[in-house]
């Protein structure tokens, strides 16, 4: 839920990166963190297992700049991708303003993508949101790997509503900011409508 504070002149929005296990959600955040100037970001908090798998969530606040005298701050979250962390995944979606679905482009991960996308729709519904109505971007990650499905085939299977589709290699940063920009733009456009 977007917070607009007139006294501190701030807009705060929440964006959640969703997707199957090991698709690169945390890698997206890590790249944004590494590539952002220190004054524009807070800490990157990772609640992860000893093997660096996300246990609860990753979080980082990112300040993008000023619009009409208001500082715009985006709170970026990831969810744990592994199927059995369902309860924590659901909690993170509370109050979300925009969602990025990070799909793993590898052929053998197609089923995991479909299952996770279905899971996203269900969990959004449980909080009273409709995927068809909220700001949403589909990122096709890991485009540098050899066994990837074509962008057309992935989009045909995973695209839900004509949302922006961004090809990415999060490990090197390709497409990461394009994805963030696409979702942030929709969130701010929603604000314009309200």
């Amino acid at each position: 839920m977007t917070f607009i504070n007139y006294a501190s002149r701030e807009i705060n929005c929440k964006i959640v990166y969703y997707g199957p296990g090991l698709c690169g959600k945390t890698t997206n955040l890590q790249h944004i963190y590494d590539a952002t100037a220190p004054q524009a970001k807070g800490k990157l908090i990772s609640l992860a297992t000893e093997t660096d798998r996300t246990l609860f969530f990753d979080f980082m606040p990112l300040e993008l700049g000023t619009v009409r005298g208001f500082k715009t701050r985006f709170h970026l979250y990831t969810v744990p991708g592994q199927v059995f962390y369902e309860a924590s995944r659901k909690l993170i979606l509370k109050g979300v303003d925009g969602v990025v679905f990070v799909a793993d482009s590898q052929e053998e991960r197609m089923d995991a993508n479909i299952e996770s996308l279905y899971n996203l729709e269900e969990n959004l519904k449980s909080h009273g949101y409709d995927l068809m109505k909220i700001p949403y971007v589909l990122q096709l990650n890991k485009r540098d790997l050899p066994n990837v499905i074509t962008m057309e085939d992935l989009a045909a299977e995973l695209q839900r509503k004509g949302e922006p589709v961004v090809e990415a290699v999060a490990s090197t940063g390709v497409g990461v900011f394009d994805t963030l920009k696409a979702v942030a733009k929709q969130v701010l456009t929603e604000l314009r409508k309200s």
């Binding site: 839920m1 977007t2 917070f3 607009i4 504070n5 007139y6 006294a7 501190s8 807009i11 705060n12 929440k14 590539a35 952002t36 100037a37 524009a40 807070g42 800490k43 908090i45 609640l47 609860f56 969530f57 979080f59 606040p61 993008l64 700049g65 619009v67 009409r68 005298g69 208001f70 715009t72 709170h75 979250y77 309860a87 924590s88 909690l91 993170i92 509370k94 109050g95 900011f177 920009k181 942030a184 733009k185 701010l188 456009t189 604000l191 314009r192 309200s194």
Partner: protein, 159 residues
């Protein structure tokens, strides 16, 4: 629908937090919305990252709320974490979370008592914010209705 915090409400909440901080001899007092957004903070904030604290507190409360449901409770209304020097006490007040960070200058008992005493006023103040946010046309006076695509694009230029 965005939550709109008007200046007058913000200063009222800050004043309540200041009073609590004094009465409870606390280091920092933070008011957080249940989804993880910080509403206001007061005290010896220094380099304490209250934004991250807010998101972790909300995650903490959400997780323990989930645990409560598993054992047949609605929720746990208070949570305390006691460290060697610094401690945290969290009260769930409807949709907001009152977070008190305190050290040896105070005690858990005092913090609990003072938090409880001020909770109704804080709940009422946030209820007013919610009510104002839901009024028809509440956001109509916002400057954002005229944001241009170019302005949004310009936010990303430096990145």
């Amino acid at each position: 629908m965005p939550i709109l915090i008007r200046e007058q409400r913000y200063h009222h909440i800050k004043a309540l937090l200041a009073r609590l901080r004094l009465d409870a001899s606390a280091r920092v007092v933070v008011l957080v919305e249940k989804d993880g957004q910080q509403i206001a903070a007061h005290g010896e904030v220094g380099d304490l990252d209250t934004t991250s604290l807010a998101s972790l507190v909300a995650g903490n409360v959400a997780a323990t709320g989930g645990m409560a449901k598993l054992i047949g409770e609605k929720e746990f209304p208070t949570l305390s974490h006691e460290g060697d020097k610094e401690s945290i006490h969290i009260s769930v007040i409807g949709r907001v979370l009152l977070v008190v960070v305190f050290d040896q200058r105070s005690s858990l008992g005092l913090v609990k008592l003072r938090s409880k005493q001020i909770s109704q006023e804080l709940a009422a103040a946030f209820a007013e914010i919610e009510r104002e946010s839901e009024l028809p046309g509440a956001a109509s006076g916002l400057p954002f209705s005229e944001i241009t695509d170019e302005e949004i694009d310009s936010l990303f230029v430096q990145n």
